[in-house]
Each structure stands twice: as C-alpha cells, then as structure tokens.
Symmetry: C2
C-alpha cells in the first residue's frame, strides 16, 4: 500500500515528462555472468550495446530488442547503449562518469564468499565532498575525501593520507563510485588488515598536476582534516593516466612521499609526446639518487591487469629499466585487463601495505 | 602541452571503447535563454529533445541534427535525448538522478548580479555521504549530510538539523546536485542571513517513511554528528512527494519539530489513493490540537511555483482547509512551475526563517 502511494505520487510529480518510454528493464546478469539486455525501441533500425565489445540486439515482438553477451569478469564494467548509431548511457542504470562522458555500469557478482567489495556489517566511513579554490586552474574544484569510520567519533586522532588518482576520461568520483574505495577500506580496517587512513580522491583533469597537488590539494587536506604530515604518512597512487601523473610527481619530489602506487600504468615505452625526453629525465633522476629512492619509498607498488591490459607493455618496459637501475618495487598482477575490477583489487592490495 | 598530454593519455585509456561517436557538443544556452542542441546521428530517422516539452531536431549536413528551443526559465532543468523513439540521457551533460532514471540537466544562467545560487568566494561546507543500516527497509541506505563550513574547524559546537526530502522519481542526491543546497547555505551563512545548520538530505524511497525517519534517520544523525536535539532545533521539509511525506510525519508527531517546509505540495484534493480518509484523519488532528500546532511550529512554510505548478490546486485546497481550522502558516509563491528553480528559491527562503 505504501509502495503504491509512493509510485502514485512519483507518477504525479513526473507528469511534466511524458511520451516515449524508457528502457523496459535493467540489464540482467545470468548465473554464468553473461548479461541479457532488453531495450524497447519499436522505431529503431539498429540497437547495440557497447560493453568494450559491441553487440547487436535482435528485434522481437512489440519492438523489444534483446541480446545476451558473452560471460563478463566479476566487478564493475562500463557500457553504453547505441540506437541507430547514437551512443548514450542507459537510463535504467546508475550513472557513472567515465570514458569522458556520462556512462552506464553493470556489476557482475563476485564469487560466493568473496565479500571484499561488498558492504558488510561494519562501521562505515564517510565520503566528504570538499570544494577548494585552485590557484593553478583559477577555479573551484572538488575532491572526494574518504574519512575512516572513527574520524567523527574520535575527535583528536590524526591520520595518514593517501592521495588517489583516477584514469583518463574519469574524475574524482571514479574511485568512490566505480572503485568502491570506501567499502574496501571499511572492510579492511574493520578486519585490522589496513590502518585507519584518509584517502583524498582528487580530480586529475588539471593543467598542471604537480602544481595542483603540491600547491593546492595537499595544503588544503592538511589544513582541513586531522592528518599526519610527514612523508611516512603520505602516499600517492593512481591508475592509468593517474599512474603516470603519480610517477611524474613522486620522482621529482620523493621527499614528500613514503608510499607510491602505480596501477595499470607506466611511462610510455614508445617515442612520441608521452615517451622520450621527459621520461629519460625521470630515469636519470632515479639513477642519480637510487639509494635515496629505495630508502624513501617504503612501498613502490605496481599492479597490472595481465597481458590484456593495454598498459602491460609500457609497464614491462619500465620495470626492466627500473631493474637495470636498481630501483626496488613490488609487482602484483591479476587478470582482467585495463578495467575497474583490476583497480579495485589494486587498492585492496595496496591499502594493506601502507602506513604500517 | 600539458593539456595535449592529458588528452593523449585519456585517449589511450579509452581505447577499449571504440566506434560510434558521442554527441558533438554540450547544449548551448543563448543570451535570450533559448537552448541550441546539436546531435550527431547520421543513421537516425528522428531525433528529439524532451525538455518538459518535446522538440524535433532538423537533420543537416553530415548527419548533424539541430534545434533551438524556446527561452527557458533560469536555473536547472531536466532534459532527455530521444533517438528514434528511445529516450536516454545526453552523454555530453552531467548526470542527475531524476524522473526515476538517469537524466540530463541544463543550467540557465541567473540574471547578472543574482549570485545566490552560484559558488562565491566564501567558506565552503561539506556534503558527507553517510551510509546507515535501515531496520525498516532491512538494507543499507544513504543520506547526504550538509555540514556548515565551521563544522570541521569548530570541533565542539552543536548545530540544529533540517531534514530535507526530494520529490518523486528523485533520491538523496537531488537537493545536493539539482538543488545546490550546499552552495545556497554557504552563501546565506557567510552573509549572516541563515544560521549555521546541518541539513540531512534523506532518501525518501522507502516502504514506511515515518518509521525510516523516526526510528532510523533522526537517531543516526543525532548519534553521528554534533547536533542539538530539541524540537526548536529540528526541522523537516520536502518538495512534491517529499512535501506529502513531511505533512504525514509532522502532523502525527508535532512535538518533534519546530520548523516545517512544504514546497510545491499539499495533500491530494481529489478522492483516490492519496485523497480522502487518511487526509481527513490528519485534518482532524490539526483541528483537535490547533493551538498546540500553532505554538509548536515556529514556521509552517508553504511555497508554490505559481499556477503552472501541478501541485497548485492541491495546495490551494489544503490552505483553505487550514484557514478554516485556524492553523497558521506562511505562503511564498514564485513563478516557474513544478521545477527545481522554484525549489532552490524555496530552500533559499526557508533557510532564512529557521533556527533563529
């Protein structure tokens, strides 16, 4: 009855929008992890789903189109709907900012018993949306700051801070929404596997990342939250584009960081705008102060989504260079390619290694 | 150069998604507030924009479709893209949850000098995403909690709390994203026009709103934040569906609240699932303890988006009943209909009247 009432009022409130129907239903994940899509589109000539790979839907009765995809790997995947060549998000799914636009996402269940990425009955932290004025970009910008559950109840303790960067085409919401960073940390902290820490998820879409990080973000976080401010209590990590930003920040300023994470990334191996001269300067810095870096970075942690990860070769070439120089690092590989399931696993692993 | 690098890496990271192009550009708001939409859709037969009213786009060269709408009122408006009958959000715009789905929004500029709804150079509050376990819905649920700027710097002060409800087809993100509640409050507090307060934006999509509010949300907020817990420091307000939820909560439990806001709402005037018996019980309660209600509610505040607001008649009928009973209330009307510009104005007005 209550439910009926809410739907009645909702319909009433929406009377302003009328006419065409939305998609009939949310995508359905089958037990074998294939995904069934159903789209009502009587007037369309071609309907596709782009799930990394594109699938053509088949038109059935009443203009309802369907397709069942191949099995997908566990965790989060972006997807798009394509109607007569126009690629859009699916209005029946939750919105995510990714691929430089609004995108849709599906969640493939993890194996029975693997609750690392699900909300459990533990004390929950907070994601605080914080705005600050950037002197670099001359604009108000936003960061998402994870505060451990005890932050509000213990009003005097200070915490270490991990600065965490999204990938290309994403923003500060990526690690919170697609990444489930708060859930992962809540679970790890509750189990005693990770130290209570603050995680500042920054917006990496900036003109000058190092200026933004060092002149704006770090001072803002240290002024507005109860944080420990020595290098042993400060980390920087990033995925893909964010991994390159991380490398380009920590190599010139190693004295600032005790922990570094590079997920599905690495300097570009080939020559071009991202390879060559600038990277060689970085390798030179590493070579010149090899012992300092090895002592300073208590963890210099690389993760990779297997050989199908588009950053695999860049990272492999870079690791060979680091080996040759004698820079110490850890390396963790998990299948899944250049995707969010790999990056959830990456933060899950990395968070257990830092601030110990 | 830096910009080129970021775009290069972003393109690299997005290589997994290929093929069809996104919309060419964001909608363009012209100086007279008409909106120009441009959609690249060479294979489509019909392209429309639904902005409350539906507009057909005209196909031009290279499969680029365009239309220029009539002038729109200032502030936020939902819209959708319709390609060959399939209604979706526009991937080139920011996502909003509204109309029971992912939706797109456009923002029409306010008149020169009216900065009430724009971020100004003032101390910024925080929106904290908080999860709690609901004993009513037997599920984890989320609220968005606005904390005034001074909350983190003054670590002992306690604050009044306004509980604030979205409309039908929306959720706890509505007041934060579409409503700009944090910006409005930051500006008002900085100018001394509103008291520093906490605003808990709840998810009203629940089986039993009163149980959710009284047994879950209020105890959670009072346990997790530094709040004043007497009725004179507690308010409840809501728009549309949320206004009805508000009425149905405050009338049976007036001792809990000092301030009540009903935006673009009112009990249904006509008979049916929302009119009739239950509402008559509420009127009876008001009648039986008229003097108590008049003393208890320091503000019983109604707002309305003019005669084009779909809730206009319900509210008018209700106000006539309240007048007849002798219940005191305030009434504020502004043109704009049943839309977010009206609700931004509503919270702007209401916030200045409460907790004084």
């Amino acid at each position: 009855m209550k439910r009926t009432i809410i739907m009645t009022i909702a319909a009433f409130a929406m009377a302003a929008f009328s006419g065409n129907e939305m998609l009939a239903q949310k995508p359905k994940v089958l037990p074998d992890h294939r995904v069934e899509f159903t789209v009502r589109a009587p007037q369309a000539n071609r309907v596709q789903i782009d799930l990394g790979k594109q699938y053509d839907l088949t038109k059935g009765e009443n203009g309802v189109w369907t397709v069942t995809t191949e099995p997908q790997s566990e965790g989060f995947h972006y997807y798009f709907l394509i109607v007569d060549g126009v690629k859009t998000p699916d209005p029946s799914s939750d919105p995510f900012y990714g691929c430089s636009s609004m995108a849709s996402g599906i969640e493939i269940p993890y194996p029975e018993g693997d609750n690392r990425f699900y909300q459990q009955d533990v004390a929950r932290g907070t994601i605080a949306q914080k705005y600050y004025y950037s002197t670099t970009d001359k604009a108000w910008r936003r960061m998402f700051v994870y505060l451990p559950a005890e932050y509000f109840t213990n009003s005097t303790a200070k915490y270490p801070v991990l600065y965490l960067m999204h990938g290309g085409g994403e923003d500060e919401t990526g690690w919170a929404n697609q990444g489930r960073t708060d859930i992962i940390l809540d679970n790890l902290i509750a189990q005693g596997k990770a130290k209570p820490m603050i995680i500042a998820m920054l917006d990496g879409n900036t003109r000058d990342f190092n200026a933004e990080l060092f002149d704006n973000c770090i001072p803002f976080v240290e002024k507005n939250f109860r944080v420990k401010t020595d290098a042993a209590n400060r980390g920087l990590a990033g995925l893909s584009m964010g991994g390159i930003q991380t490398l380009n920040a920590v190599v010139p300023r190693p004295e600032m960081f005790g922990y570094v994470g590079i997920f599905s990334s690495g300097w570009f191996a080939q020559a071009g705008p991202m390879g060559g001269g600038d990277n060689e300067k970085m390798y030179k810095m590493l070579e010149d102060r090899k012992d300092f870096y090895n002592k300073q970075f208590k963890e210099f942690f690389f993760t990779m989504g297997g050989e199908s990860d588009i950053a695999y070769n860049n990272c492999k070439v870079m690791r060979a260079r680091l080996d040759k120089i004698g820079i110490k690092y850890s390396y963790f590989e998990t299948p899944g390619g250049h995707t969010w399931p790999v990056w959830r696993e990456s933060i899950y692993q990395f968070a257990q290694k830092i601030f110990k």
